[in-house]
Amino acid sequence: MKSITTPISDDVIRDLKVGDAVELSGIMVTGRDAAHKWMIETFIKKTRAPQGDDLEVYEELKKLLNGSVIYHCGPVVSGLDTKEYKFVAAGPTTSIREEPYQADVMKHFNVKGVIGKGGMGAKTLKGCAETPGAYLHAIGGAASYIAKTVTKVHGVFKMEFGVPEAMWVIEVKDFPVVVTMDSHGGSQHAVVDESSKKILEGLLEKPY
């Protein structure tokens, strides 16, 4: 088991290989569908003009994400009335929906790690090599357990996206993940997809 704390250096990332179990600590930011679309359209492709507090949030995100981690997570949060936020349940969401955006977001903000579940595709794998960064697989559905590793909620951006889609700035201690895509082109997801496809072909040939 490796222990890593954000911000993460290139050397630490290059040291990570598919299959490594990691306990992650430090500050990270949650972001999923609405956040990725918003970052790409407003700051990277610039197809949408910044509105409201967009530019201020962008400046904050540049600092927070540099060398840090994006967590694909739509948490259950208590204390919404008093703003004394606490993560109640916070497992990963399916990452593949961010496939069109992820590599560009990683490169633009120098994001070293992406936490999610289910893995991502070829474009993100290339992004992992180029940034460099790694895809860190959390255990899907283990929401109460992972929420326990969130020691502090520092704040939240883009609450107008709704609680699950907002960008929560959190501090974690010993958040358990497994490296399933590394910066050397390795992807456990590509391996399992390929091997299961071969087995399926064999099964389809079998008589009923």
């Binding site: 349940a89 289910g118 893995g119 357990y145 699950p164 497994v178 456990q188 997801h189 099964l203 389809l204």
Partner: protein, 290 residues
């Protein structure tokens, strides 16, 4: 008519935070099948810890508290209008208490309602009048990750060589499992319906998931196919979370429907390991939770 809002709130709490024992047992049994020290085994061990913690704390097993699917079996004389209003009130309260994540998003204007009420159909409630005296309310919470990997096939399917028979059904279901990989939070449970129109076929593929683990179809042909599909799905080696491993599917449940001569649909609803389904029964004045 008795106001059951608080009792339904308790049903929601139980469903969100306490995995049914039959599912937990099946998950626990699967740990021994995975190699010591493997990522697959580690995933299952974390899952077990999470199940215990969620139950002890009354916190959601999964932060995606899903689409709430209610099945209400009501005796003659009950008002479905009032029952629905009570279910909706309980859902608002459950969201305030963090048993549920605000999960209803207006698809046109991208706005989360914040209270788990969205239009007339969120939460989804199905009413069925029954002849008995007991009122039974079942609830299933089905997350978006597994919902997204569900599939519907129209047979024949040339690309898979799947014709309009059980042999064809077998092929498309295995294809759905391979395509899902770990994205539906494997190990999963498959709800399969054969026939119907596109709508009823999907609905029934979810309804069949209200039965307990290991419940076999009364038709021996379908029962045999259920067992074969579970076993062959596991041969593909996708494993917990798609990490690779022996446990990909925990159980398969099939329902056969009527179809039009022209149509032959097969719908596969994939349920994640966080297979949250609970039941409450009102027997006279007494409320019984399963």
């Amino acid at each position: 008519m008795r106001d059951l809002t608080n009792e339904i709130l308790e049903l929601i709490r139980r469903t969100s935070s306490s995995l049914p024992p039959d599912v937990e047992k099946r998950l626990r049994e699967s740990i021994e099948k995975e190699a010591p020290g493997s990522a697959a085994r580690g995933a299952l061990e974390t899952i077990m810890k999470n199940i215990e913690l969620s139950r002890a704390q009354s916190t959601p097993i999964c932060q995606d508290t899903g689409t709430p699917i209610f099945q209400v079996h009501y005796p003659v004389g009950w008002s479905t209008i009032q029952l629905k209003a009570q279910i909706r009130a309980a859902m608002v309260e459950a969201t305030k208490k963090s048993f549920m994540r605000p999960n209803a998003v207006d698809a046109v204007y991208d706005k989360n309602t914040g209270n788990n009420l969205g239009g007339d159909d969120f939460p989804y409630v199905h009413f069925e009048e029954t002849e008995g005296d007991d009122l039974v309310i079942e609830l299933m919470l089905k997350g978006g990750g597994c919902e997204n990997v569900g599939r519907q096939y129209s047979l024949p399917d040339n690309s898979l060589g799947a014709g309009r028979d059980l042999a064809g059904v077998r092929k498309v279901v295995l294809d759905a499992v391979q395509k899902a990989q770990g994205q539906g939070c494997a190990p999963g449970i498959l709800g399969v319906s054969i026939g119907g129109d596109r709508g009823s076929s999907y609905i029934k593929s979810k309804e069949v998931l209200f039965s307990e683990m290991g419940t076999r179809n009364e038709d021996p042909n379908l029962a045999q196919l259920e067992e074969r599909l579970t076993s062959e799905a596991n041969e593909m080696g996708i494993g917990p979370m798609g990490f690779g491993g022996k446990t990909t599917v925990l159980d398969t449940k099939i329902i056969g429907l009527s179809r039009l001569p022209a149509s032959y649909f097969v719908s596969v609803s994939y349920m994640c390991w966080a297979y949250r389904r609970r039941k409450m029964t009102l027997k006279g004045e007494e409320i019984i939770y399963d």
